[in-house]
């Protein structure tokens, strides 16, 4: 038996499928691909499958990871090829490898935010710079365990790049805390930023897209988790 880590992208409309739907989608795709997945024991056996870091509904990604156990005798190349022909078009396997880093070491994730505001974004870089320099931005964070509480957004922001102005609007990369210890959903950061831009720089944002670009692990010696 061997546990493989599959790095995959989730793009297009697939961003709207929930975690549970994604699990079901992978299970059925593995069945279609006729790959020898290992099942758990017990009353209700299921494929052994663990996603490294949940992704919010509505967010696309090019760096998702899932660990799946297979019986021996199937190569990584074979897994990738067969699974890609069995998955729906908006989910693609990018690589298959040994899971040498534990998902427990994940501490952050980088996101690309695209804020749509037509060509009216020229003030945005300055305003965004001001925003990320603020010592404190109060936000409401909801978790299952702790319920609703007010926290400082900046405690979760690990980095933010200066925005680029494009024809559609503005684009910027931010890095947020992620993982089991400390986690923030990117849409909360995006909405706080949009609110600031609207109130302080008179930028009207009509919509936004978020794309996860990297998952980061090993806080002492940061590297890309894959």
């Amino acid at each position: 038996m061997s546990k493989r880590r599959l790095v995959f992208s989730k793009t297009g409309m697939a961003k709207y499928i929930s975690h549970l739907d994604l699990l079901r989608c992978f299970t059925r795709s593995i069945m279609r691909a006729e790959l020898p997945a290992v099942y758990s024991q017990g009353f209700n056996p299921h494929m052994k499958m663990t996603f490294s870091l949940p992704l919010s509904v509505g967010v696309t990604s090019s760096c998702e990871c899932v660990d799946i156990e297979f019986e021996r005798g199937v190569s990584d190349g074979e897994i990738m090829k067969r699974l890609n022909s069995a998955l729906p078009p908006d989910i693609r396997i990018i690589s298959v490898r040994d899971p040498n880093i534990s998902a427990n070491d994940i501490f952050g994730a980088e996101y690309r935010l695209t804020l749509l505001c037509g060509g009216a974004g020229e003030n945005a870089p300055k305003a965004a710079g001001e925003f990320f320099a603020l010592p404190e931005v109060k936000i409401i964070k909801r978790t299952k365990k702790k319920g609703e509480r007010e926290v400082n957004l900046m405690d979760f922001v690990l980095g933010a790049e200066a925005p680029k102005v494009t024809d559609e609007g503005i684009e910027l990369y931010i890095t947020l805390s992620a993982g089991g210890q400390k986690n923030l959903k990117p849409e909360i950061a995006a909405e706080a930023l949009i609110k600031y831009l609207t109130e302080n720089a008179d930028i009207r944002v009509t919509g936004y897209n978020i794309h996860r670009t990297k998952i980061l692990c090993d806080i002492n010696d940061p590297k890309i988790f894959k």
Partner: protein, 617 residues
């Protein structure tokens, strides 16, 4: 043309279940439509998870898309939250695959599975921006058609629908596209196209018929209004069911749907002839698929879907002649792959425990039986061949085999029903426990305790059945009966549920109504009626208001006994079983005489005239 994608996508962020609207599932078909291709919008008048559970839609979707000259895309009813956003932003009803406005399609087809979806048909037409009434449509508008079981008689939609497809669509849908291709660009009128469809057979065009009403609201005259239009339209069926198209590449939804599994259709029709059951009459004669063909289909579906469950879906699955062999072979294909096999409609009288054990190798679940009536007398009236002793014997085997939950389905308000029959339901459920469970010595009982769920629905008289002339009980009568039954169920082991009586009344009205109800439907839509099959939406008061505004008495349709010689709104439809046979069966019901099933002894219902199926076995 405005591209709605960005706006539409933005709505998805704000709705409860965005996965309903995203499409792009594995198996969905995306074609680049070129100008010389025809387009068909396949509309299911309910939400995605209901529509995607429906086998008929999958068959016709894939079949049409196998044609190179046709694009078929799916359309579902947006849930309330989505509809609000779409209306706010001026987004019309869009197809799932290409986000194209439904009104741009050549043909817009609805499948009618239940009467309570009619208000959604109206709402979807409105949301699509298609003129609601056929007489308001012209060049540039699509043709609106309907198929499915309710389309055998859907006069209540006559003013809204250009043509109805009577019977099975597998052949005729392709023929319709062929005719459309010829018509398109020919410069001929819309009526010319419809006339070419009439010539195909199985197509009913309501505007080609004049209906005159008498002062007492009954139909005085129902006649074709132009040459070449037949007085009766005969349904289309596929005689050789083995050759009938069955898709093996099904769409596999992302979100969970109501029936989220492979559905294997063993046969069409039913040999039984229960007198209340419309499906049992309109799908005659029974036509089976061979075990080989079924295993071939199953194999393809397993490979192409990855589903973890397969169900054998037919009206009365255990009537399949080679069921044992089929199940053995299917188990051989599924057990290793951990695929569950489920049999949804077992009949009590030929229920075999051994069979059940086999099927449940993978998973054990509750059992469901439908005796439909509480006493033998009433079961004879409705021709439901369930015998009490069989039911009890079967329950004993099931309880002994470790099952501890049995569901029993009944109908209230059946013709000739008395309070003794109603009480019979309570007695029967109690006997199932007393004689089925407590007669097993305690040391042999597998489960500690058992529970029985009794569910009742109210009888809805349906066209094309021997009970089509029967009145439905008044709402007050229905409720009295349900209450009486509740009082008579005293065991804590029996749980009783019943269905809403207001909805049953509306079902009867729209099942048996005529074309004057088209305006009621439009009014009801204007008042906000939609999703009537969902209790959170169904608003009886609004419907009553719609009837009042149009000066129509729902009781005329639902609660009146119709004489045999009255012209019925659905007399135009020829399902292969003549009225004379239904009258004979109706009389036998009152004589409490049963009629044997097709295999025991042919009752001479007329369906043999199709020249195949069970009649020639």
């Amino acid at each position: 043309m405005r591209d709605y994608r960005t706006d539409y996508e933005d709505c998805l962020r704000r709705v409860q279940k965005p996965a309903r609207y995203i499409g792009n599932e594995f198996g969905s078909v995306h074609k680049d439509k070129t100008d010389d291709m025809m387009s068909f919008a396949f509309c299911f008048p309910d939400v995605y998870e209901v529509g995607m559970s429906h086998l008929g839609m999958k068959i016709l979707y894939h079949m049409l898309n196998e044609r190179e000259d046709t694009v078929c895309e799916r359309v579902f009813a947006p849930w309330d939250d989505m509809e609000k956003l779409m209306r706010e932003r001026d987004i019309p009803l869009l197809s799932m695959e290409s986000c194209a406005p439904v009104r741009e399609f050549d043909i817009v087809g609805f499948t009618l599975q239940y009467e309570m979806s009619y208000s959604n048909v109206v709402n979807m037409l409105d949301l699509a921006g298609i003129p609601l009434r056929t007489r308001e449509r012209g060049a540039g508008d699509p043709f609106v058609c309907c198929g499915g079981p309710c389309a055998y008689h859907a006069e209540p939609l006559a003013e809204l629908v250009d043509f109805f497809i009577l019977g099975e669509g597998e052949e005729v849908n392709g023929e319709i596209m062929d005719e459309y291709k010829k018509w398109c660009g020919s410069g001929k009128s819309r009526d010319d196209f419809l006339m070419s469809l009439v010539a195909l057979g199985g197509i009913y065009v309501p505007k080609f018929y004049d209906v005159e009403f008498s002062d007492d609201n009954t139909i005085k005259r129902f006649e074709p209004n132009r040459p070449g239009v037949p007085k009766q339209v005969r349904k289309r069926i596929i005689l050789d069911f083995d050759k009938c198209y069955a898709p093996e590449k099904l769409i596999v939804p992302f979100m969970e749907t109501v029936h989220d599994r492979i559905m294997l259709e063993l046969f069409r029709g039913c040999i039984r002839g229960c007198r209340f059951c419309q499906a049992g009459y309109i799908y005659r004669p029974v036509r089976e698929r061979s075990v080989d063909r079924l295993c071939g289909i199953a194999d393809g579906c397993i490979k192409n879907t990855g589903y973890e469950e397969m169900s054998l879906s037919s009206l009365s699955t255990s009537d399949y002649r080679e069921l044992q062999e089929l199940i053995d072979r299917l188990l051989g294909m599924t057990v290793d792959k951990r695929i569950n096999l489920s049999l949804p409609s077992l009949r009590v009288d030929n229920f075999s425990m051994e069979l059940m054990e086999k099927v449940q190798k993978v998973k054990k679940s509750g059992l469901t039986f439908a005796p439909e009536a509480g006493t033998q007398r009433l079961r004879d009236v409705i021709n439901k061949n369930v015998i009490e002793s069989d039911l009890i014997r079967t329950s004993r085997i099931a309880f002994g085999g470790g099952y501890n939950r049995i569901k029993l389905y009944f109908m209230l308000g059946l013709p000739t029903e008395t309070y003794d029959d109603v009480k019979g339901i309570a007695d029967l459920a109690k006997k199932v426990i007393d004689e089925g469970f407590f007669s097993i010595p305690p040391e042999e009982r597998k489960g500690r305790s058992v529970s029985i769920t009794v569910s009742t629905s109210f009888f809805v008289p349906k066209p094309f059945t021997p009970f089509q002339w029967e009145p439905q009980n008044l709402i007050s009568e229905m409720e009295d009966k349900a209450r009486f039954l509740k009082e008579n169920i005293r065991s804590k082991k029996i749980v009783y549920n019943w269905h809403n009586s207001d909805i049953s009344l509306l079902e009867a009205v729209f099942a048996k109504g005529d074309r004057r109800l088209s305006e009621v439907l439009i009014t009801a839509h204007e008042l906000g009626c939609k999703f009537d099959g969902w209790t959170d939406f169904f608003d009886y008061e609004k419907w009553l208001e719609a009837f009042r505004i149009n000066n129509i008495d729902p009781a005329f349709y639902a609660n009146r006994r119709i004489p045999y010689d009255e012209i019925l709104p659905w007399d135009y439809a020829d399902i292969g079983v003549p009225k004379s046979y239904l009258i004979k069966e109706h009389k036998r019901a009152y004589e409490e005489k049963t009629t044997p099933d097709c295999r025991e002894k042919c009752g001479g219902c007329g369906a043999a005239s199709f020249g195949g199926g069970v009649c020639f076995e």
